[in-house]
């Protein structure tokens, strides 16, 4: 049984936000593919998701990424989500829909301009705000973005050189 404190902390906040998500998801999304991410063959990610993730990823990773690197990253995120159980994929869909529409972006993420034109400091403030939010739901949203973007980037062997990471010589014959 959930006690009252937990209900207030997760249940109420959670259901209120999910209701809001459904309501907010109605307005048109921002103009998609503003960052040159068009034509990417993703299974899970829509244009609006790609737009959002392409804006956030360099801030999350602390790296400047060119278009080719961003595309590789988005394909990695797409693969990572597609490998999750279907229920979890549904949760990621809710999160991306929430952030992908202009009301969610404006009022929950606090980002005034469309994702593609948001400034680095605005994006940073959004991530920091959710990371340190008093609401567990927003913190879990941040952690989901953190996990997906980092997993996608650092799963890619192209990221290894910057870490001086490589499989030991005797292991390479097994690859």
């Amino acid at each position: 049984m959930m006690n009252r404190r937990q209900l207030l902390k997760t249940g109420l906040a959670g259901s209120a936000l999910l209701l809001a998500a459904g309501f907010l998801a109605r307005p048109e999304p921002d103009t998609p593919d503003a960052l040159g991410m068009q034509g990417l063959d993703t299974r899970f990610l829509h244009a609006a998701d790609r737009n959002l993730l392409a804006a956030i990823a360099p801030i999350m990773l602390g790296l400047s990424l060119d278009v080719a690197q961003l595309k590789a990253l988005l394909l990695g995120v797409d693969r990572a989500i597609s490998g999750l159980p279907l229920m979890l994929q549904g949760e990621v869909r809710q999160l991306l829909d929430l952030l992908g529409n202009r009301w969610g972006r404006r009022y929950l993420a606090g980002v005034k301009t469309p994702w593609a034109s948001a400034s680095a400091s605005e994006l940073h403030a959004f991530l920091e705000g959710w990371r340190q939010s008093r609401f567990t739901l927003l913190r879990s949203g941040y952690q989901a973005l953190h996990g997906l973007i980092n997993a996608a980037w650092y799963a890619n062997p192209a990221s290894f050189a910057a870490l001086s990471y490589r499989v030991p010589a005797q292991g390479r014959v097994l690859q």
């Binding site: 990773l61 567990t136 650092y154 499989v167 390479r172």
Partner: protein
């Protein structure tokens, strides 16, 4: 390049093993056997061999895919989605704890870090004294432990610890904390450090390369990529008549629509402490005392990072070779929660997703990876009266959810453990220490680290809490009112069902659990084999 080494699974398949891949099934399948084993990890793997040796017709059913050494290419990008539950991102209901658990033929034994500890004597004593399991004496368990050790070649690891492990050893020596070397279940190990991605050289003596091939050679069958949906009960609700499974598509996620029905004289549940209670719950198994799925334990783990002055390449070499039980023996077993100290292997995906923070701070730490040491503290849950563990529930689609609220004694242990790890890392030569918590920053002295740790808010999704050990939820008990099974793992209400996996444990075990699961599996499967042979 393909591996120059032999692949015992590919060879066995070529010899004609009876193996079905759910993803390749095009029509419904009906199978009969003496014993159906749900789950092919530590419990299921050991049991399969024991029962097949006894001449019984065994069928292993595994939700994950059959992957083997030539598939293991030392890549996190392939290993996590293919070999782990929920792409290594299984989480508790409130997302407070991330759980690493295998989901492949061999279960977690295929991807574990080879750490082998005997069941702690103080845990067995606690089970005898407080849970009434008087049969579980040291004399009773020791022969099974020894037999398990021999079966999977558990022995001393003679190579020196890698530098990541050495930090723990040096720190303990400097501070006078007891510590030791970890025994491992390997044979001709190359000391590569990629155990968590599946052993590419078949050195790790997991179920995948030991008991499962042996059982298959003796005529056992294996169904991979089949998820057992439910057990079908007899009219009087005292027996399982059949199991219903769903074949999974190539993605190992979604059912293809093909159904599998298995009739068995006896059913062994070996799906781990989340999967086993969930299957019983999903099936509506009798649970008159409402204990099923309760008291599920995780050994919740907190972490501390350190920058070392020299390059230590923490991804290279046997991942876990040094431990300290100092803080398991500092307080009474049911007092302040104790913790076991170890180090984890460090690879880019695991590190980047586990490290807190983002942006430049995170990128700088990632680039410092060759200098990084990470220490972990594994807390011993289930002994303190306010550490009741979690509860396995079902999501809308019937998949398991573990509700594991982190209670106050755990938070206190986490804070204490962060202190211990910072102290050990500085004593081991660290330049700076970073508690893995969203509100922590790298500290360049122990005093600075301690001041930070004392002020960290104790909240989920700020503190990074992980787990690699699932236990409990279908516990052994002295009488039917307190647990799901007796000390042989036999279900109190269902005459032909046994549980043989970590679900049996009435508390956490207090050490990396593989050897404990092997020992109980040998003992209980041997008993079952003689019971079924007589019948």
């Amino acid at each position: 390049m393909t591996s120059p080494l032999k692949d015992p699974i590919k060879e066995g398949l070529a010899r004609g093993w009876q193996v079905y891949d759910g993803a390749l099934l095009t029509q419904d399948l009906q199978l009969d056997c003496d014993v159906a084993i749900v789950g092919s990890g530590a419990g299921g793997g050991i049991s399969a061999e024991v029962l097949a040796q006894a001449g019984l017709k065994v069928l292993l059913i595994e939700e994950g895919a059959l992957k083997s050494s030539t598939d293991f290419r030392l890549l996190e990008s392939e290993a996590y989605p293919q070999l782990y539950q929920e792409s290594a991102n299984r989480q508790t209901l409130d997302k407070g704890v991330t759980i690493l658990q295998g989901r492949t033929v061999g279960g977690s034994t295929t991807v574990n870090w080879t750490s082998s500890f005997r069941p702690p004597i103080e845990t067995l004593a606690w089970w005898r004294d407080k849970h009434g399991l008087s049969e579980l004496s040291e004399e009773e368990m020791l022969p099974w432990i020894a037999k398990a050790e021999a079966r999977v070649n558990i022995g001393e690891w003679l190579a020196p610890p890698n530098p990541n492990n050495s930090v723990l050893e040096k720190g303990c020596s400097a501070l006078g904390y007891s510590h030791g070397r970890i025994r491992r279940n390997v044979r001709d190990c190359w000391n590569l450090g990629y155990c968590g991605m599946g052993c590419p050289t078949n050195a790790k003596q997991s179920m995948l390369v030991t008991t499962i091939p042996s059982a298959l050679d003796k005529g056992a069958g294996l169904l991979a990529r089949v998820r057992v949906e439910r057990l079908l009960f007899s009219a009087d609700n005292k027996q399982v008549d059949a199991l219903e499974g769903l074949a999974l598509k190539d993605d190992t996620l979604s059912p293809s629509g093909v159904k599998v029905r298995v009739k068995a004289r006896h059913v062994l549940l070996c799906g781990g402490a989340i999967g086993t209670p969930a299957l019983l719950l999903r099936s509506g198994a009798p649970d008159p005392h409402e204990v099923l799925g309760k008291r599920t334990f995780l050994h919740p783990v907190v972490l501390s990072g350190a920058i070392m002055p020299e390059q230590i390449e923490p991804w290279s070499g046997a991942p876990q070779t040094v431990y300290s039980n100092h803080f398991l023996h500092t307080w009474p077993i049911d007092g302040q929660l104790g913790y076991k100290l170890e180090v984890p292997p460090i690879h880019p995906v695991l590190l980047s997703t586990t490290l807190t923070g983002f942006g430049l701070d995170h990128a700088r730490l990632m680039q410092a990876m060759p200098h990084l040491n990470v220490m972990l503290a594994l807390t011993r849950d289930g002994f303190h009266p306010d550490s009741p563990g979690g509860t396995v529930k079902l999501k809308k689609d019937g998949s398991p959810a573990l509700d594991y609220p982190i209670t106050d004694p755990l938070w206190q242990a986490f804070r204490q453990a962060w202190h211990s790890m910072a102290e050990l890392q500085f004593a081991g030569g660290a330049q700076s220490v970073l508690t893995v918590h969203e509100n922590a920053k790298p500290a360049s002295s122990l005093a600075e680290a301690r001041a930070q740790i004392d002020s960290l808010p104790l909240e989920i999704l700020r503190a990074r809490v992980v787990s690699a050990h699932v236990m409990g939820g279908a516990a052994m008990s002295a009488d039917a009112s307190r647990g799901v099974v007796n000390h042989w793992g036999e279900h109190w209400q269902l005459g032909n069902v046994s549980v043989i996996d970590g679900s049996l444990f009435p508390t956490s075990i207090g050490a990396n659990p593989q050897l404990s699961v092997y020992a109980f599996a040998l003992r209980n499967a041997s008993r079952l084999a003689s019971r079924l042979a007589r019948a």
